[in-house]
């Protein structure tokens, strides 16, 4: 659905994006993470046919972004960094205008507009100029615009920025629903927990290049190593007579806890629990240690910046 190969954009002598390879299939969400100026917006603009790639190619919904830019624009919904609302227009007029531009007939755009306004809780203010809305309401209306024509591909730049937690959750739910309706979605975000929650695949971009890409688990494994587990004891334990099954690597142990890693947790974790029970340990909990996307992201960025300094 969204496919790029060797995609790059040069402004004067500066490469804003280079060698970007993406493959976002229908029903999948790719989160593009990176610092400000990393090349996320430039990538999105190339995928919308707003910027001509300097190198490589991209296809969205089967259309080439250069040769069939109009078809590309018709088949994507784009939420830009700025909400892009005409502040003297009401929400009804605004959605009607964009519905018209995207080729919807009058009954369809009325029905779709009413649904979206209701869904995002804007129905009550639908006939007020959008200039009177709060930041969050403006963002919701912008998102409604993005969805008015039910595009098969969505490109969302910071979709929940400026929203209150309730609205942000509403938007996240809508994005998740869109995934289940077989849409290919790319989200640019600084909100790592949002990416973790929504994305099927994550790409970290730095200075125009994708440093690492993969599913959340693969990314964590690649960056933070294999999954770690931690056992907590209810009574202090001294590890006497404990036979540790092979394939378990102990990372840290004391009288309160045991931290380990294993390549085959399904088989080895029960074995370890059994051995601990035999050795008289009183186990309170066994759980995966926290390995957030934030840890992985910060590590990747630190490595990238470190390499640059070297």
């Amino acid at each position: 659905m969204i496919l790029t190969e060797n995609l790059g954009k040069q402004f004067d002598n500066f490469w804003a994006v280079s060698d970007v390879k993406l493959d976002v299939k229908p029903g999948k969400i790719l989160a593009l993470l990176g610092q400000n100026g990393a090349g996320k917006t430039t990538t999105i603009r190339m995928l919308t046919g707003l910027l001509r790639p300097t190198q490589g190619w991209a296809r969205v919904n089967g259309h080439d972004v250069v040769k069939e830019a109009t078809q590309v624009r018709a088949s994507v919904g784009v939420l830009t960094e700025q909400h892009g609302l005409y502040l003297r227009m009401t929400a009804v007029e605004y959605l009607d205008f964009f519905g018209k531009v995207y080729g919807l007939d009058i009954p369809t755009r009325k029905k779709r507009g009413d649904y979206l306004l209701e869904y995002f809780g804007l129905a009550e203010v639908a006939n007020q100029p959008s200039g009177t809305y709060s930041k969050g309401m403006k963002q919701k209306l912008a998102l409604a615009r993005t969805l008015i024509h039910k595009p098969p591909a969505l490109l969302l730049d910071e979709p929940t920025s400026a929203m209150d937690p309730e609205s942000a959750r509403l938007v996240r739910n809508e994005i998740a629903n869109l995934r289940s309706s077989k849409r290919a979605i790319v989200i640019c975000t600084h909100n790592l927990s949002e990416a973790e929650l929504l994305a099927d695949e994550i790409a970290i971009i730095y200075r125009g290049k994708i440093l690492i890409k993969g599913t959340l688990d693969i990314l964590k494994d690649k960056v933070l190593g294999p999954t770690e587990y931690e056992i907590k004891f209810s009574i202090p334990y001294n590890f006497v007579n404990l036979k540790i099954p092979k394939d378990i690597e102990i990372l840290e142990k004391d009288s309160q806890k045991l931290r380990f890693t294993t390549e085959n947790p399904e088989e080895n974790n029960p074995k370890l629990l059994k051995e601990l029970s035999v050795a008289g340990a009183s186990v309170l909990t066994l759980e995966k240690t926290s390995r957030t996307l934030e840890n992985a992201y910060l590590k990747v960025m630190a490595e990238a910046q470190g390499k640059e300094i070297q």
Binding site: L50, L51, V78, T80, G84, Y86, E93, V101
Partner: protein, 479 residues
């Protein structure tokens, strides 16, 4: 086609809704449309009374059309405000990306904005004119002839088209409304001069010339619209964040394009001048053929205009001939004393003429430059016809007095005009690979290469011959 034009109306409709909710646009439009005609009527009434008192019937007769010209112009000025912020305003308000991300085609976006910019100020202008004409009629004053009225209405439309096309071109090239407003002087000043010239022609009362002016302004407006369409790029609207005139970049690009990687003057001629010549070969062919056609046509026209008894009338006394020659020299900007017409005078005079032609072409997308070409070549045929009409040996005089240096000077004029024509053509040709600035600098470089490499040397040789050889040949023939 109708289907493709409908989105233009959608965009225009949206813009209109926005504008009619903005009192800052509505208020001046209403004031200029409805209050200015009575005010003008009052002023014109006083002027008529004053002129009638002192027998200024001619002025009186022309005051009404002049007032219509001015009344029609004022509401059109609002078009400038609307058009100037057409794209850059959206950029500044952060709405441009959502709009550019829609399936609108580039020309639909351009025309949608253009339509709104032109149509309503123009409607206001025509309403204003109608109000004034009604007032004039009620006062039993003479209304302009239908012919003049048509010219005035066309001029009002041409002003609107010209100003909006220019303003939109500025709007697409600026990064802030403030910068666009500052650049607006590039529209206001030429249009102010244009209005002065048009007023002059209205008072002169020459129908033919006024039609020519209206037609030229319309052509210029159409070319400017074409420039706007040709260089409208979504990418450019999003690309830049700050306005700055990058003189270093202009200098480097001009130098790279002018010199390139050549090492010797010979190589420069072969590579750089050769490449520019290749580019202007079609304009060269067109203008060479046109030169023959224009000179023959001007000869025919002038011959037809000359009265049959012209030769007898031309039998002036020596004193009269001397006076006529002095007047002619003064009109052409030549010094009264022939000894001052030296090689350097001729050379720099011609260089000055070539630069003026280029400057005129630069400001009018080639039109005024080509007009200068037509006048220059036309004069040759006309002079030939006058000499013939006077019963003088025109061919001999031409061979002796014009051809020796003309063989270099006329091609120089054709080359320089071809470069100007190419400049105009390249500016109105769409080029998605290059920005308007890059196209402009490269076109300028091509003109310079033709100028420095071909035109200036030809003018140098022509001046040498004109100063030192032509007088000898002429003297020989006269003897």
């Amino acid at each position: 086609m109708k289907e493709k034009l409908i989105p233009v109306w959608w965009l225009a409709q949206r813009e209109l809704k926005d504008q009619f909710r903005d009192w800052r646009i509505l208020f001046p439009l209403v004031v200029l449309t409805f209050l200015f005609p009575p005010l003008m009527n009052l002023v014109a009434g006083s002027a008529v009374e004053f002129a009638a008192k002192y027998g200024g019937e001619l002025i009186l007769d022309r005051l009404v059309p002049f007032s219509i010209l001015i009344i029609g112009f004022f509401p059109v000025t609002v078009a400038l405000v609307v058009a100037l912020e057409a794209f850059v305003g959206e950029k500044e308000r952060g709405t441009i990306e959502a709009l550019l991300g829609t399936p609108f085609l580039d020309w639909q976006l351009y025309l949608g904005k253009f339509f709104v910019g032109v149509v309503f100020p123009l409607l206001a202008s025509y309403t204003s004119i109608a109000i004034y004409v009604y007032m004039v009629k009620k006062q039993d004053l003479n209304l302009p002839s239908p012919n003049l009225m048509a010219q005035l209405l066309i001029l009002a439309a041409a002003h609107a088209l010209l100003m909006v096309a220019g303003a939109i071109a500025i709007s697409t090239q600026s990064t802030s409304v403030r910068a666009a407003n500052l650049l607006a002087s590039f529209i206001i000043l030429p249009v102010a001069f244009l209005l002065q010239a048009e007023s002059f022609f209205v008072f002169w009362g020459n129908d033919y010339l006024l039609w020519l002016v209206a037609f030229s302004v319309l052509i210029m407006a159409i070319l400017l619209i074409r420039v706007g369409l040709a260089h409208f790029q979504r990418e450019y609207l999003l690309g830049r964040e700050i306005d700055s005139i990058n003189l270093k970049w202009i200098g480097r690009t001009l130098f790279d394009s002018f010199i390139g990687e050549v090492k010797t003057p010979f190589e420069w001629y072969k590579v750089q001048v050769g490449a520019s010549l290749q580019k202007i070969k079609t304009p060269l062919l067109i203008l060479s053929i046109s030169a023959v056609f224009i000179s023959v046509a001007s000869y025919q026209v002038m011959s037809a205009l000359l009265p049959p008894e012209f030769a007898e009338k031309m039998e002036f006394s020596d004193e009269e001939k001397e006076q006529s020659l002095d007047k002619l020299q003064s009109a052409m900007g030549l010094p009264a004393d022939e000894t001052e017409i030296t090689f350097s005078f001729i050379f720099f005079h011609n260089i000055q003429a070539v630069l003026v032609m280029f400057l005129l072409g630069l400001l009018s997308l080639g039109i005024l430059g080509e007009l200068a070409f037509v006048v220059n070549i036309g004069i040759i045929g006309a002079v030939f016809a006058v000499l013939d009409g006077m019963g003088m040996p025109a061919t001999t005089l031409f061979m002796a007095g014009v051809l020796p240096h003309g063989i270099f000077e006329i091609p120089a004029i054709i080359f320089v005009s071809a470069a100007i024509l190419y400049f105009g053509a390249i500016m109105v040709t769409p080029n998605p690979e290059r920005t308007m600035g890059v196209v402009f600098v490269h076109a300028l470089s091509d003109w310079l290469k033709i100028g420095v490499g071909i035109v200036f040397p030809l003018l140098f040789i022509a001046a040498l011959i004109e100063a030192y050889i032509t007088p000898q040949i002429l003297a020989y023939f006269v003897q």
